[in-house]
Amino acid sequence: MKRFIFFSTLFALLVFAAPQFIFAAKVGQPAPDFTGTASNNQSYHLADYRGKFVVLEWHNNGCPYTRKHYNSGNMQKLQKQWTAQGVVWFTIISSAPGKQGYIDANGENSYMAKMRAAPTAALLDPAGAIGHSFDAKTTPEMIVINPQGVIIYDGAIDNRPTDDVKDIAGATNYVNLALGQALAGKPIETAATRPYGCSVKYKGSWF
């Protein structure tokens, strides 16, 4: 059993640790392409959305920081506001099976119905492939991709890194700021911040 654990740990390190520094996406660089299967059973290919702004939202419905933005309705409001303006919004769930936040398609569909969430789609990423390719670290971590496919924002949802709903009012929302400035043809003032929240519960991660 010990040996099994040793080899599986080694395997996990080799498979999940090695490539990440090399391929991690950065602000100013092209977003790594992906094809993801959504909870609605459709497949979404990032490259198909050239010409549109795309928002990626890392999600874990058990994480207190995610709950802050869903229980208050803040995230749903952002989803509705921006998709109404033609922005594509993917909620991405990179929790591995057995880890907090892992959910199957049916579970996610009923969660979204209950919460009145309104992203373009919720992509299920239990192997963590999309998460690792963007080096997503927390839930909620937010990434904005411009119509040319370049990452123009990566980081926190706002400037109040707490799990307290009371901190939403009056916070500077970095997603609104980045999309607002980009749509107005202005340079992005704050293009990268430290994402706050729970760590993404990847396969092979400790916590």
């Binding site: 999940f16 640790a17 990440q20 520094f21 991690a24 950065k26 602000v27 058990g62 994480c63 207190p64 880890k99 907090q100 690792h132 080096d135 670290k137 927390t138 990566d154 980081g155 890194p161 707490t162 799990d163 307290d164 293009a191 990268a192 911040t193 430290r194 706050y196 929240g197 729970c198 760590s199 993404v200 519960k201 990847y202 092979g204 991660s205 400790w206 916590f207």
Partner: protein, 280 residues
């Protein structure tokens, strides 16, 4: 208590809890997967003097709380003090943290148990009294695989006496250990330089000794990549440490501040100007 056999067990647990209770008067408040209580270093508060108190966290095995810079995720504990007039609390003094995590997500914090020191200053005009209540509202995020936010009211009663302060023997070991774990000011004759080399900061240390290990904990977020391995190269006069820049660092910075740890209980605070030139 329906089962009479439960009573003795309950009683012995109660006795055990009393025996394990913190050294000083206050009772421990519960937080997710642990407890926290205030511990006083001195037996009473003396007007015109500064005294130290500890926020003593005990967590279930494997659970942790966070340093001032929590790293890639997490949040440091915060306390809002409610103190009688004439008493004022200083900032938390943070022990050198541990690196928590093993892959692309690395946090900075404390596993299992930690005592955070807080100084409190009593004005010289504060009235002596049998007991004042020192109370604080604590918000803390406790994590293992998952994170649970907690709130606790911590409080303790202590006398204010005009006599010079006397330490409380019951807490002296806790305070000795907590002070050892604090990062120290680096000796004056040590030299540090940081050069900006494209994707990395290279920290060069000139010390009066050789070290076999050094880990840097950045005080500010978004400067250094928390999960990247720190390349340590010792030499006769010290060492070089290569720190990969954070992806979130888009504008140049002028100083690198943080804690440099050589071994357990041997850590130093550094604040170094960043230069473009290489040093030899």
């Amino acid at each position: 208590m329906k089962n009479p056999l439960e009573a003795p067990r309950f009683f012995s647990l109660f006795v055990l809890a009393l025996l394990l209770a913190p050294a000083i008067g206050a009772s421990a408040a519960s937080i997710p997967h642990g407890t926290v209580d205030i511990v006083a270093e001195n037996q009473w508060i003396t007007p015109g003097r500064q005294a130290y108190f500890g926020l003593n966290f005990r967590l279930d095995k494997g659970w942790h709380i966070y340093w001032l810079n929590p790293g890639d995720s997490g949040q440091p504990p915060r306390v809002e003090w409610h103190l009688p007039t004439g008493l004022s609390a200083g900032e938390i003094e943070w022990p050198a943290p541990q690196r928590l995590g093993n892959s692309t997500i690395v946090d900075f914090g404390y596993d299992d148990a930690v005592m955070l020191l807080v100084s409190m200053r009593a004005s010289s005009t504060v009235a002596t009294t049998e007991a004042v209540q020192l109370a604080g509202e604590l918000k803390v995020l406790v994590c293992r695989e998952i994170c649970i936010p907690g709130k606790a009211q911590v409080s303790m009663a202590l006398a204010i006496k005009s006599a010079p302060p006397e330490v409380d023997a019951r807490s002296s070991e806790l305070f000795a250990a907590a002070r050892k774990s604090l990062p120290q000011k680096a000796p004056r004759d040590w030299e540090f330089k940081v050069s900006d080399q494209k994707d990395s900061f290279v920290l060069t240390a000139r010390l009066d000794r050789q070290t076999t290990r050094a880990i840097f904990f950045p005080l500010e977020e978004s400067q250094v990549d928390n999960s990247a391995p720190q390349k340590f190269t010792p030499d006769a006069r010290g060492f070089q440490l290569t720190l990969r820049k954070s992806d979130q660092l888009l504008k140049p910075i002028t100083r690198l501040k943080g804690v440099l740890e050589f071994s357990a209980n041997q850590a130093y605070v550094i604040d170094v100007a960043i230069s473009d030139d290489h040093i030899t």
